[in-house]
């Protein structure tokens, strides 16, 4: 009986493997080729940006009387570990006119109390304390309290470089009529020394989980942000650092309460509304790295984060399924959104399905072991090519890691990413999607902060 069943299973797996091998290989080729193309597009954009820094008008903006004012909104929930350096950094940005609005979303760890250590008496600091109701409502509260023409939404655990506002709001000065939103490049700050809320020395984190996320962030921001921005199809601005025109933000109703991917949802809504109204507008990404954030170093927190991200991705893509393939939404509807469906949403499921099928085929003797390893090497090797290309772009445009040791670690992280990390995150992402399909309750979860490393290497959290 068992032999008979095994025989049938072997036949089924063999048939499935035979039928799917070309589509699977095709998918792997397509996804990685599209990544590579986006990296190349992003690379040209980054280089272009880097070559124009001198005459970009940043110096003039700093002394400009008409430089648009910015309200920096920091929603905070139980961020006592990192809130002081984060707010200090916000208060000492180089920008002619701005205010900082911290919206405490009902923290229970004394976040508000710690804010008294952060005020500097020069830049306007507004603290709004409210009952806990989620990040979206916290940001909306901040938008209500804001007084400037531009609104920057910054995570409370993000650290900004001194020129961050000048850099990310510059596209608004260059094109104040069409520009409605810009996003900034976010990098990993774990274990980087922080003095007075500033990352003073960029170095690789000590944890391998964080190290892998360094190369992952680098690749993801070049791919999903700069690449798409250059092609006019940017549909995701990170919640960690984005700048929006306040009037447009108010017009579209601010962030959506209850959304798990509220940053993605907001940009999709901007595109949809403005295109529906037939308005000409621009959403742009600024490739210069100016925002630093702490990434999870525990598997548990990372698991929760990725599950939430993918669930948010699915819910937003589903909510805006009407945009998919519609010519009226231009490159967003015809290229960017289909790409996200095919290569972001489906990727973890297809990757896992491919792994299971190949694993099963190898176990049952349908696929020989050598073929299995050769195929895996092609699939993941192409991924490593993409990551290394992103690293090359970074070295050419805005290199941040000075040490040779950091380069060695980053190269190893490129390899290590494929040894368990990718598969685990694929599983967690699929879990997030599944939870949404089953209608499980949405959980934001808490990100346990360890605080940034102080100048002397101690933690300040």
């Amino acid at each position: 009986m068992t032999r008979w069943l095994l025989g049938d299973l072997r036949h089924a797996v063999a048939a499935l493997t035979y039928a799917l091998q070309i589509p699977i290989i095709g998918y792997f080729l397509l996804i990685n080729s599209s990544y590579l193309m986006l990296i190349l597009v992003a690379g040209s954009g980054s280089l272009r940006h880097a070559r124009r820094l001198e005459h970009s008008g940043r110096r003039e903006a700093l002394g400009g009387r008409l430089t648009p004012g910015v309200s920096v909104i920091m929603p905070a929930y139980n961020e006592a570990a990192t809130i002081v350096p984060a707010v200090q950094a916000m208060l000492s940005l180089r920008y002619p006119r701005y205010e900082v609005i911290v919206v405490d979303d009902g923290s229970s760890d004394g976040t508000v109390a710690r804010l008294t250590e952060a005020r500097d008496g020069r830049t306007r600091l507004v603290v709004v304390a409210k009952e806990n109701s989620g990040k979206a409502e916290a940001v909306n509260t901040g938008i209500n309290a804001s007084a400037e023409a531009l609104v920057a939404v910054v995570d409370a655990d993000s650290l900004l470089d001194p020129d961050a506002l000048l850099v990310v709001s510059k596209p608004f000065a260059d094109d104040p009529v069409l520009m409605v939103a810009t996003g900034g490049m976010v990098r990993v700050a774990n274990d980087c020394p922080v003095i007075a809320g500033r990352v003073t020395d960029v170095r690789m984190p000590s944890s391998w989980l964080a190290r892998i996320q360094v190369v992952e962030y680098l690749r993801a921001f070049l791919l999903s942000r700069e690449g798409w921005s250059r092609m006019g199809g940017l549909i995701l601005i990170s919640g960690a650092f984005g700048v929006f025109r306040r009037d447009v933000l108010v017009e579209v109703g601010g962030l959506l309460h209850g959304s798990l991917g509220e940053d993605f949802e907001l940009v999709m809504r901007l595109h949809k509304r403005l295109r529906d109204q037939g308005r000409d507008y621009r959403v742009e990404f600024v490739a210069e790295p100016v925002c630093w954030t702490e990434v999870p170093t525990s598997v548990k927190v990372l698991h929760r984060q990725r599950k939430r991200w993918h669930r948010g991705l699915w819910e937003t893509l589903w909510a805006y399924r009407g945009v998919l393939g519609r010519p009226r939404y231009g490159i967003v509807g015809l290229v960017a959104v289909p790409w996200y469906w095919l290569f972001e949403l489906l990727a973890p499921v297809l990757e896992l399905a491919g792994l299971v099928l190949l694993g099963l085929g190898t176990a049952l003797g349908v696929v020989n072991l050598a073929f299995f390893w050769l195929f895996m090497a092609v699939a993941y090797g192409f991924g490593i090519v993409v990551t290394l290309s992103a690293m090359a772009v970074e070295e050419l445009s805005f290199p941040k890691y000075r040490r040779w040791r950091d380069l060695g670690v980053a190269l190893l992280a490129c390899l290590a990413e494929n040894l368990g990390y990718r598969q685990a995150t694929a599983w967690w992402r699929a879990e997030g999607w599944w939870a949404s399909l089953r209608g499980r309750a949405q959980v934001w979860g808490t990100m346990t902060r360890t605080g940034f490393a102080d100048g002397d290497g101690t933690r300040n959290g």
């Binding site: 008008g57 008409l66 094109d175 009529v177 090497a377 092609v378 490593i384 290394l388 070295e395 040779w404």
Partner: protein
């Protein structure tokens, strides 16, 4: 089944590409490090003379002489340091650096580069000439306002602003319209440049206020508001009466707050009426504060209880700006603050903020409020 030999070939190809990319990253890093170190070595002997000139300490001209004699092979690196420094200093120090760059032929090269086929070279040249601040270059930069590259047009506008030659004002307004079928320079960039032209540009500003192009009117009112050009007051009153564009009306209201007089209190007060657009009401309240006339006090006091909380707050701040009569009105309103008196809470808030800002004429004792 896919041929294993094909997979082996693909693996080999990918492996080689990975190795090549890793090597490329390392080579880029090494090249950058070597270039930075070489640059540093070339600049090191001249860093003190550059700082000496920039700090205005080159009284015997020795540092300038040293810099004029920098060998050509080192000049590229030193030049970048000098140009960067020029963006940070003013007065005699800047003039000395400009003379040095001129002596080294940098400006002549930049003037030639304005005709380069490459947009980035034209933009860099325009930037350097703007940084130099020599008005004689305005004539060379003006044609770039119609350049085929938007980037060059933008840099040229900023540089013309830096030169501060008011003769460029009409061309600057002209550059706001369509250029070769593309949008002109951004309003804020043009307005910033026009502000640098000072009162010499006032005639062009007044003329632009009467333009049929709303972009020109918007830029002109921005300049009038920020530059406090009093000669524009009659035109601003006219715009407030018959301008169809809301943004222009808002700018006109703010401008009139800066340059208007007692007669304008009623005009601005009418704009705070409930039937007016919210943004215009807020701008008018701020303008009344800028105007600083005591006649505005009763109007602003009434607005303290407006349902639009931002308008109420602006009115409170405006009362502080009016001076003693405004502060007295705020103090009075704050003394009656309570849950049923939103105006009192707004007034107490405005006084508290004014106290934090150490605004004059605000009583140092906190006003009791709940």
């Amino acid at each position: 089944m896919t041929s294993p030999s094909l997979l082996v070939a693909a693996d080999l190809g990918i492996g080689l590409t990975c190795a090549a990319l890793a090597l490329l990253v390392a080579v880029i890093k090494l090249t950058r490090a070597v270039a930075a170190s070489s640059r540093q070595a070339r600049v090191a002997p001249y860093r003190v003379p550059v700082l000496s000139v920039a700090a205005g300490g080159d009284e015997d001209d020795a540092a300038s002489a040293t810099l004029r004699e920098v060998p050509d092979r080192d000049w590229g690196a030193v030049r970048d340091v000098v140009v960067a420094m020029l963006g940070k200093v003013r007065g005699d120090s800047a003039r000395t650096l400009v003379r040095l760059l001129d002596a080294r032929g940098e400006f002549e090269r930049a003037r030639s580069a304005l005709r380069s086929r490459r947009a980035i070279r034209r933009a860099r040249a325009a930037y350097l000439l703007g940084l130099a601040g020599q008005q004689r270059d305005a004539g060379l930069l003006l044609p770039l306002l119609g350049d085929r590259s938007a980037e060059v047009r933008l840099v040229a506008a900023r540089s013309l602003g830096a030169l501060g030659d008011p003769a460029a004002a009409p061309a600057m307004f002209g550059a706001l319209g369509l250029v070769r079928g593309q949008p002109g320079i951004p309003i804020a960039v043009a307005a910033e440049a026009l502000l640098n032209f000072g009162t010499g540009a006032v005639q062009a500003v007044i003329e632009a206020m009467g333009s049929a192009d709303v972009t020109l009117r918007a830029a002109a009112t921005m300049v009038a508001a920020e530059g406090a050009l009093s000669a524009t007051a009659p035109r601003l009153r006219q715009l407030l009466a018959d301008e169809p564009d809301l943004d222009v009306r808002i700018s006109a209201a703010l401008a009139l707050g800066r340059v208007g007089g007692a007669d304008d209190v009623a005009r601005l007060a009418a704009l705070t009426g409930a039937a007016q657009p919210t943004a215009l009401r807020r701008a008018a309240a701020l303008a009344l504060g800028e105007l600083g006339h005591p006649d505005a006090v009763p109007i602003l006091s009434r607005l303290l209880s407006d349902p639009d909380i931002r308008l109420a707050q602006h009115s409170g701040d405006a009362l502080v700006r009016v001076g003693p009569p405004g502060v007295r009105a705020l103090t009075e309103a704050a003394s009656g603050s309570g849950p049923g008196n939103p105006a009192g809470r707004v007034a107490a808030g405005s006084l508290a903020i004014a106290r934090l800002r150490k605004a004059p004429l605000v009583p140092t004792e906190p006003v009791s409020s709940r």
